[in-house]
């Protein structure tokens, strides 16, 4: 019974996210103000459904559902959605939702193609550290994904302004300053979570394997990602790196995040690979 609900819930998530994305796109093209409110409500519903789906999976499996490919990507989409919604309380960035909803939808579609089977946990993963470490890491990815969206928007808008063509994106995208602030805010928040994720992971590794760090590919790549963002934040604080460079760094950083998430799993293997 619960597993059927679970199955239907995911399809509902997919459908609602698709509708949210479609309405956001229509809004993006037409710029009708009432559509934006509609889209935001649908996107919020999608966020709530995602939460319910993850909860239902937790109830069925009895552990935090973040170990398989499907679960991890769904969790990623959830964190992006909620990072956006929480961000939205504080700042309003014009048409940001459109980009975020597309990214979320892409992730959910990827999740939909992965196996949704429940796999028993390996003994190493049966720990209270699992939700802490994985949860914090994925929250970091959520904020870094937002920075990536903001970075893309910045680069698009900057190109319009520099080339002086003032085309389609010029009127629809927000100001460079607000995108740069978004970048700074999301990168900083994401970086804090990322740091916590790495620290918690290393503490867990000490408990499970006896060493804080043993150069597992995922660990290495997390460290590379961490350094990329650390460098960016450092440069911003000391030399005033902002604008285009910060946007490019946010995009590069996110590529590293994606590689850490998928590239490592499929190409390099290691203890972090999802249960097969």
């Amino acid at each position: 019974m619960l597993s059927e609900v679970n199955y239907l819930l995911f399809n509902a998530v997919l459908l609602v996210s698709f509708v949210a994305c479609a309405v956001y796109l229509v809004f993006f093209f037409s710029q009708r103000e009432h559509l934006r409110k509609v889209a935001r409500i649908i996107f919020l519903s999608s966020g709530i459904l995602q939460t319910l789906y993850i909860l239902s999976r937790y109830l069925i499996a009895g552990y935090t559902p973040i170990t398989s490919q499907h679960e991890a990507v769904t969790f990623f989409a959830w964190s992006v959605t909620w990072a956006y919604l929480s961000f939205h309380w504080r700042y309003s960035v014009k048409n940001f939702g459109t980009f975020v909803s597309i990214l979320t939808l892409i992730m959910l579609v990827i999740a939909a193609f992965a196996s949704r089977a429940f796999e028993p946990l390996t003994p190493a993963l049966q720990s209270l550290w699992l939700p802490v470490h994985a949860g914090v890491s994925v929250m970091a990815y959520g904020f870094l994904a937002l920075a990536f969206c903001g970075g893309l928007m910045y680069l698009l808008q900057e190109r319009e302004l520099k080339s002086k063509r003032f085309g389609f994106f010029y009127s629809r995208l927000p100001s460079l300053e607000s995108l740069d602030q978004l970048n700074s805010h999301c990168v900083t928040t994401g970086f804090v979570f990322l740091t916590l994720g790495i620290i918690s992971g290393s503490a867990w590794a000490r408990q499970a394997w006896g060493t804080y760090w043993h150069w597992d590919p995922k660990e290495t790549w997390s460290l590379i990602t961490w350094f990329l963002y650390a460098a960016q934040i450092h440069q911003r604080l000391t030399y005033g790196w902002r604008g285009k460079r910060a946007a490019v760094m946010a995009v590069i950083g996110f590529c590293a995040v994606l590689f850490t998430l998928w590239g490592v799993t499929f190409l390099l293997g290691g203890v972090h690979s999802y249960a097969k």
Partner: protein, 424 residues
Amino acid sequence: MPSEMILLLGVNHKKTPLAVREKLALSSGYDEPLELLGKIEGIKEYYLLSTCNRVEVLVSVEEGADVQLALSRFLFGDALSPEEFQQYLYCYRDSEAVHHLFMVAASLDSMIVGESQILGQLKEAYRHSADKKCTGPILNRLLHKSFSVAKRVRSETEIGSSAVSISYAAIELAKKIFGTIENKRVLLIGAGEMAELAAEHLVGNGATDVVVCNRTLENALDLAKRFNGSAVGLDELFDQLGRVDIIVSSTGAPGVILHKKDVKPIMRDRRNKPLFFIDIAVPRDLDPALNDLDNVYLYDIDDLNNVVELNKAERDKEAIKASRIVDEESLKFKEWLAGLGITPTIADLRKKGNQVVQLELERTLPRLNNLTDKERKSIEKMAHSIASRLLHDPMIYLKGESCKDQSAMKVDIFRSVFDLDKKP
């Protein structure tokens, strides 16, 4: 048609390069040129307007008087030969002249369509002419009308407020870069009118600090005072670049005054805080390569025009609305002008007399009983005679030769004494 003709001659920014306009602009105020203008044979009423973007004379002359050449001589002085000035000059007559004046007043003919300064300039020019009694009934009426047309256009269309101006475009761009203009600092290089206008818009949108940087410090001080800002000389330009956010450059310098290599080190000092350059000078003041620097945004006058083009549909709609108002008012004025002729006035007067007689007869006759047809006809005849007798002398006066050169004024007074322009 009346015996007067309205003539408007002038040059403006559309056909005449700045270099020529500069030579024509009246630097010594209005008094002297107006005196000169009054000496031209055949002119009855005259008025003169001089701004950075246009110099125009508006006169009413005797029908048939040929003053065009004399007027253009007056405009161009010794600056240009007749062959040269022919290509710049425009000349409108009667209803065309009226239409053009209304277009100018409504700011539809301005370089920055919809800007409001022109109306003030028009009023000031009129005050000078009126003080010297250069204007008479026709021009008084015409100019007052042009003010009310301008007000009508302003209140009935969005031409003044919507995306019509280059200044507006600059604001739009600034908002796309900075998000908000609140508390941004503005540097004006050069103290021209365009820079002033742009600064006005920027301050109106929340920019706080205005620094004016000019070769002659005196002019800089004058302009800075308007915005409660400060003034510096050109040698302090680089220091200022570290502190401001928006730079409007409009000097008359022949070449580039700010190069890429000058600005690059400044960006490091600013910790890459964005700089927004607006170059409204022709020829350009700022090195186009500035735009290649990160976080530096440079727009010249053509670029700003492109932004304005974005809102072209909206603007065209408003401009069409505005020119419809101008057309309508021009037509009304034409009717009034036509009424100034003696013949229609006499006809109007007769008609009015008949109307009064008819009205009174209709009131009185029913109250008189036992009248024979003959008696009734006598009474009617008497009423008409009284009216004709009363109107006879005024009509003789109107037709009289006594003060012919003032016939327009006479007709105007006449029409208001008898209230002939009242709409039924």
